[in-house]
Symmetry: C2
């Protein structure tokens, strides 16, 4: 079920580094000291997203990883996007 | 050293699925049956790119992986881009 605007704003305010993009997306950039560190993070994100059955778009620009999410099924942002965002933040180890 | 236009065209013609993008990039999309298959490919691309010390931009859109390359140091496409392209094709296992 799509979240209403006020709920999205509240969840964004409570999160760190996640930004709204084009209305129905949230995105975050994670920076690493090495390319291998970035790849290890992507593997952990992959594992978490399989567990949640919710897969972000992932871009790897050398030492920077960008995650982007929406809930296709509901045509916008849902609780699941913020649950996944918290899970991905949880596996991020600042190097 | 940047390749001249005729050399780029020759190498593109000899490759499979690699396309020119914005003049100084080459890009290719690889499709997989599963998200996990896509992630395994990304790990092998990461290993090959560390070995070559040439890192593509990598995008993972669920079961599709896109690689994009250029040689920053030379401001365009070089032999190394096509060497890396062949290495990435070499680790791709059609599922």
């Amino acid at each position: 079920m799509k979240l209403i605007e006020a709920e999205i704003e509240k969840r964004l305010a409570a999160s760190e580094g996640w930004k709204r993009e084009d209305g129905k997306w949230i995105a975050k950039k994670y920076r690493f000291l090495t390319f291998i560190g970035a790849i290890q993070f992507v593997n952990q994100v992959a594992e978490a997203s399989e567990r949640l059955n919710h897969h972000p778009f992932i871009s790897i620009d050398y030492k920077m990883v960008t995650l982007r999410m929406t809930t296709w099924h509901d045509g916008g942002l849902t609780e699941l996007d913020f649950t996944a965002a918290a899970a991905f933040d949880g596996v991020y180890v600042r190097e």
